[in-house]
């Protein structure tokens, strides 16, 4: 009986893995068809994908880090602002495929598939199978999800964050530590996982009225950030070298209080015209929508530690001054997808899904066309 159950789950997870990658590529293909109609491109989708995205946004930086590592000084010294795990994996996979871009794309796609499985497992554990599928669907239709299949850290981070949250809710502390540490090595916001980990550890120990050594595994999460800072120290002689680079051209990123940043987004949105609709208005909307969703999640009884992760993640993301990647970053706030599943009204769910589907095609087309979707 047990064996049958394991097989059934295995088939379900394989199905989810394939479906996740397929849906994201169907969105890429549909928007590519539109692009072909408008721009008269002759090449195939994968050829154009390679040409288009190899020099796009942060991809070239990841490829350079994967090929040459971090630089102590010079033109590329500022690439130390990118976290090391993803380029490290690219370097490993490139030993086999002999192309850093292809290596990155393979990693992203595999991570996307695994992240969909863990999204399902996490929400299934919290709310049951049907709602778990709702979460997976809205995750796959996230309007800025094109980064999940290109050479960006999104897929890897989503996979590690979802794995870590799943293990947090399952009280598997060593796994929490390892996945959390790796998440903190792939993105700044990875450290946000420490919040739900500590939350659940404290509640777990109080519930059992005893100290459990395994809980110390959760302390591995900030070790990921520490390793990154150590790399800064070793390569450029300063624990916080990345901060100076972030402040400088071309990012101009400086941490400010959220209120100041929102004022800046608003002013930029008013000045930016069309770009406002793909960056600043979206960021502003997602902030208030995100906070409202987290409050709603609390009201509907979603686990407090998951809401705490959402809050900590948003807090860290919106501290960035001159933020232009807010829509992409907000994909990592996985709590939003879980709260969506909690919605009881299926009509509202359908409307949200439909809107996300349309916007997914729109923003993916914008990305193909080279608009500043970052």
């Amino acid at each position: 009986m047990e064996k049958i159950k394991i097989n059934k789950n295995a088939y379900r997870y394989i199905g989810l893995f394939v479906m996740a990658i397929a849906i994201r590529w169907i969105i890429m293909w549909l928007s590519f068809v539109l692009l072909k109609q408008s721009n008269g491109i002759n090449s195939g989708m994968f050829d154009y994908f390679y040409q288009k995205y190899i020099g796009c946004g942060d991809t070239s930086h990841y490829i350079n880090i994967a090929a040459n590592g971090y630089y102590a000084s010079g033109e590329y010294a500022n690439q130390i602002v990118f976290y090391p795990l993803y380029p490290l994996l690219m370097r490993i996979v490139a030993f086999v495929v002999r192309d850093y871009f292809v290596a990155g794309a393979i990693i992203s796609n595999i991570c996307l598939g695994v992240s969909a499985i863990y999204m399902y497992k996490l929400v299934d554990r919290e709310l049951g199978g049907q709602k778990a599928m709702d979460s997976v669907m809205i995750y796959l239709l996230y309007p800025f999800g094109m980064f999940l299949v290109t050479v960006y850290t999104e897929g890897l981070f989503m996979m590690l964050a979802l794995m870590c949250l799943y293990y947090i809710r399952s009280d598997r502390w060593i796994a929490v530590g390892i996945t959390g540490m790796l998440a903190a090595l792939s993105r700044t916001q990875g450290i946000a996982l420490f919040v739900p980990a500590v939350y659940e550890v404290v509640v777990y120990m109080i519930r059992r009225k005893r100290f459990d050594m395994r809980c110390l595994g959760a302390c591995l999460v900030p070790v990921g950030t520490f390793i990154y800072l150590l790399i800064n120290k070793i390569v450029q002689g300063d624990w916080f070298a990345f901060l100076a680079h972030q402040k400088a051209e071309p990012w101009f990123n400086q941490s400010n209080w959220i209120a100041d940043n929102l004022v800046q987004h608003y002013n930029m949105a008013l000045e930016s015209g069309f770009q406002g609709y793909i960056i600043y208005w979206v960021q502003l909307f997602l902030y208030f929508f995100g906070i409202a969703t987290l409050f709603y999640g609390l009201y509907k009884g979603v686990s407090t530690s998951l809401i705490a992760y959402g809050g900590a993640y948003m807090f860290l993301s919106y501290l960035h001054g001159w933020l232009i990647s807010g829509p992409r970053y907000m994909m990592g706030c996985v709590t939003l997808f879980i709260v969506y599943a909690v919605l009881d009204n299926r009509y509202i769910k359908g409307v949200i899904l439909a809107v996300c589907g349309i916007l997914a095609i729109f923003y993916t087309l914008g990305s193909w066309q080279g608009h500043a979707i970052m």
Partner: protein, 303 residues
């Protein structure tokens, strides 16, 4: 508009953090059996609405008087009078907290002071509401006599000062928490004493909490006698505080007056006197008018 969006975003994030901390305390099992989320939510919502509306009225009055639109959260421009930022008296806790948290919020000390004080205003209303509830044996008696007292608390003259950045606002919140612990039954003496010391570290009027603790040690009383004891101790000690403050130039008349709301509440709730609904309505109307008189008078520079 931009300023409003920014300030709203900041306040929402702080509110989320506060609620998560509250949920964390509940999940740890502290006071789980006594927490009534619905009641707390109701009091908190009333307090948030009251605070925001009063600040909104302040912004409207100032914009009208000086013909210059002012943001609701531009506290220093609207409420540029004691006890707003900078006039926090001789006790250090509020200043330390503002400096500490303000450093974390990228040196935004004024915004931090506002966040702390607005939160304090909400905590004051929630805790005093819960304190009132504890004086009544059952829900029916509370609905009959106690709910009106909370409405009177909302109508309190110059209650906006419970939300404005000052050590006084924080003190009132801590006093509410102290009273909640104090009335929580036996075994809370150490917690009460710790809360009393924190109250004293925040504001000179914290002496009344310390006096209550000392009185509790030497003057044993039960039931209505303990209420009488508490009311007398609070009133007399606050009178002494007022005299000392007047001599040394600390605080202001509104601070002196608002503290008396606490013994008054304790007296009305503890004595079980049923106040006629019409009389209570008249008192509330009078207090609200007085509140409007004070706010408009201060903001238009008439006194």
């Amino acid at each position: 508009m931009g300023e409003f969006i920014g300030a709203s975003g900041g306040i929402l994030m702080i509110a989320l953090i506060v609620i998560l901390l509250y949920r964390f305390i509940i999940d740890m099992g502290i006071g789980k059996d006594r927490i009534d989320n619905k009641r707390i939510g109701g009091y908190a919502l009333a307090a948030v609405c009251l605070g925001l509306l009063q600040m909104g009225i302040g912004a409207m009055v100032i914009s009208f008087v000086y013909d210059n639109p002012v943001s609701v959260f531009n506290i220093e421009a609207i409420w540029d009078m004691a006890p707003v930022v900078g006039d926090s008296g001789p006790m250090p806790l509020f200043d330390i907290l503002v400096k500490l948290l303000g450093s974390l919020l990228f040196k935004k000390y004024s915004a931090c002071a506002l966040y702390i004080s607005f939160l304090s205003g909400v905590v004051t209303y929630v805790t005093l509401g819960l304190v009132i509830r504890r004086y009544y044996a059952d829900e029916e008696e509370f609905a009959d006599r106690g709910q009106g007292l909370f409405v009177s608390l909302i109508c309190l003259p110059a209650s906006v000062f419970l939300f404005l950045p000052s050590s006084f606002a924080m003190f009132m919140a801590l006093l509410g928490v102290f009273l909640l612990v104090w009335n929580g039954g036996k075994g809370n003496k150490i917690a009460s004493f710790i809360m009393a010391v924190i109250c004293l570290l925040t504001h000179v009027s914290g002496i009344i909490a310390v006096c209550l603790c000392i009185a509790g040690l030497f003057m044993k009383a039960e039931g209505s006698k303990s209420v009488i004891r508490d009311v007398i101790v609070m009133s007399v000690s606050q009178l002494v505080v007022i005299m000392i403050s007047l001599v040394l130039g600390w605080g202001c008349d509104i601070e002196y007056m608002l503290v008396y709301a606490v013994p008054a509440l304790a007296c009305l709730a503890g004595s079980r006197i049923k106040i006629d609904y019409n009389v209570q309505s008249f008192v509330n109307v009078f207090m609200v008018l007085l509140s409007g008189f004070v706010i408009c008078g201060k903001l238009t520079g008439l006194f």
